[in-house]
């Protein structure tokens, strides 16, 4: 009996120890996944655009969802909900309004290995840099996109299909990134896309903060036209200067934009009244080779210069202002833009 009792206690002790290990593992797993709580982020803003004397008021909500599913999967989505209000033409009183609700992307990411991620669903077309990096309203320096945005982004800026992307090489001195995609044709209202393929490669020198990349896109329906693009980003180390430039060429038009911004953080730091200011400058040119009403570019050769002044308020609020002068054979015009954007970021549920 004493031996049995001893064995029982030993067995009980082993069971409890095993239980402790299991609970410990669960607790450790809980700790590990505690950083992977799904989040909701995005921006809410109000913009005004006065183009050629006509003002449009645009309240916008752009929420982002990111939800990890286990250690290798991630669901991501960004939506845009906006209303635009403009005074009625012809001396009539009141406003006309247009509503828009759409998904910019809704994708499932599979982290296949340290250098490759497989993406399926609706995703932002990887051409140039503006569409993927600068189009969120809480990131872009100007209210509107560059004039050449329509080149290579396949009409809507989104593609529906599959994409392979990742970092092929990443060292202290150089990083080589890539993205290749195939998109099916879709006429669904929320997942509108053209049948297309393309990709982008870029070389980034982290210590120089210098990036050079090339993009290619081919529409596989209709006229089967090609698009090529180049981009250059430079952000000198220890300097608040940022310089970005893109060139894109399509069958009927081509163009480029160059943008520089300089946060005045040398004047008392980024949180001082002056250090929160960020002057921005953008120069754009569009060359029209032949008429094309579908590419979204101006119908004639156009030069445009944008002078902007952004102010970064506390609590993730930013004010954007800019004046643009657009010169074209179809008519010169002034464009005034203002906006205020609040960026939010929080977990989907309460917890530790």
């Amino acid at each position: 009996m004493g031996q049995t009792c001893k064995t029982f206690f030993c067995t009980s002790s082993r069971v409890i120890t095993s239980l402790a290990l299991v609970v410990g593992s669960l607790a450790a797993a809980h700790t590990a996944i505690a950083q992977d709580t799904p989040l909701i982020s995005g921006g809410v803003g109000f913009f005004t655009i006065t183009n050629g004397g006509r003002t449009t008021y645009i309240p916008v909500l752009a929420p982002v969802l990111a939800a990890p599913l286990g250690p290798r999967l991630l669901v991501e989505s960004r939506a845009t909900i906006l209303d635009s209000f403009s005074p009625k033409r012809g001396g009539q009183s009141g406003y006309t309004s247009n509503s828009f609700l759409g998904l910019s992307y809704l994708q499932l990411d599979y982290l296949a290995n340290p250098h490759a991620t497989v993406v399926a669903g609706e995703f932002l077309t990887p051409f140039g840099t503006y569409n993927e990096r600068l189009s969120p309203i809480w990131i872009g320096n100007f209210v509107d996109a560059p004039l050449t945005f329509g080149l290579g982004t396949m009409g809507t800026g989104s593609s529906v299909g599959g994409m392979l992307r990742g970092s092929a090489v990443s060292t202290e001195n150089v990083s080589l990134d890539y993205a290749a995609y195939y998109s099916a044709a879709s006429t669904n209202e929320q997942f509108n896309a053209e049948r297309a393929t393309g990709g982008r490669v870029e070389m980034y020198l982290p210590q120089k903060r210098f990036e050079l990349g090339a993009s290619y896109g081919r529409v596989l329906q209709g006229r089967h036209s090609n698009f090529v693009g180049m981009h250059l980003w430079w952000q000198p180390a220890e300097s608040p200067l940022k310089f970005r430039a893109e060139y894109a060429h399509g069958e009927h038009s081509s163009g480029y934009w160059m943008e520089a911004d300089y946060r005045l953080s040398h004047f008392g730091g980024t949180e001082s009244p002056i250090g929160r200011l960020e002057p921005v400058f953008r120069w754009q040119q569009v060359f029209r080779a032949s008429p094309d009403s579908t590419d979204g570019l101006p119908s004639a050769d156009t030069n445009r210069v944008d002078f902007g002044l952004d102010y970064h308020l506390p609590h993730e609020v930013r004010i954007n202002t800019s004046y643009s002068r657009q010169l074209s054979s179809s008519g010169n015009r002034n464009v005034w833009q203002t906006g205020i954007v609040y960026r939010f970021l929080f977990p989907t549920w309460k917890g530790k």
Partner: protein, 101 residues
């Protein structure tokens, strides 16, 4: 001897479940100060310079760092940015360690 092992085992179980218990008590007690990751405040706490350097070299190129966020979404943020910015797995780990030293 058995009592000693039993107590030790119970102690291990208690320690292992402490995070879960503390989470429940936190959610009901509403602590006055919630933990938040503040990127600027953590810069000097990084165990090595890799995470901070990679954060500066990659994330700050496009956008301002958030003023702060709860630690429990830091992994989601970095994984989201791994896909968006084509970061390598090593870069993802280094930046996550920088955000949660």
């Amino acid at each position: 001897m058995m009592k000693h092992w039993t107590l030790l085992t119970l102690g291990v179980v208690y320690l292992a479940t402490l995070p879960l218990i503390s989470q429940d008590s936190n959610s009901s007690a509403k602590p006055p100060v919630k933990p938040r990751v503040t990127v600027s405040a953590n810069r000097n706490e990084s165990p090595d310079g890799n995470g901070e350097r990679k954060f500066q070299q990659n994330c700050s190129r496009c956008h301002q760092a958030p003023e702060g966020f709860p630690p429990r979404i830091s992994g989601t943020i970095v994984r989201h940015m791994r896909v968006r910015a084509s970061l390598s797995a090593q870069d993802e780990r280094d930046i996550l360690r920088f955000l949660n030293p």
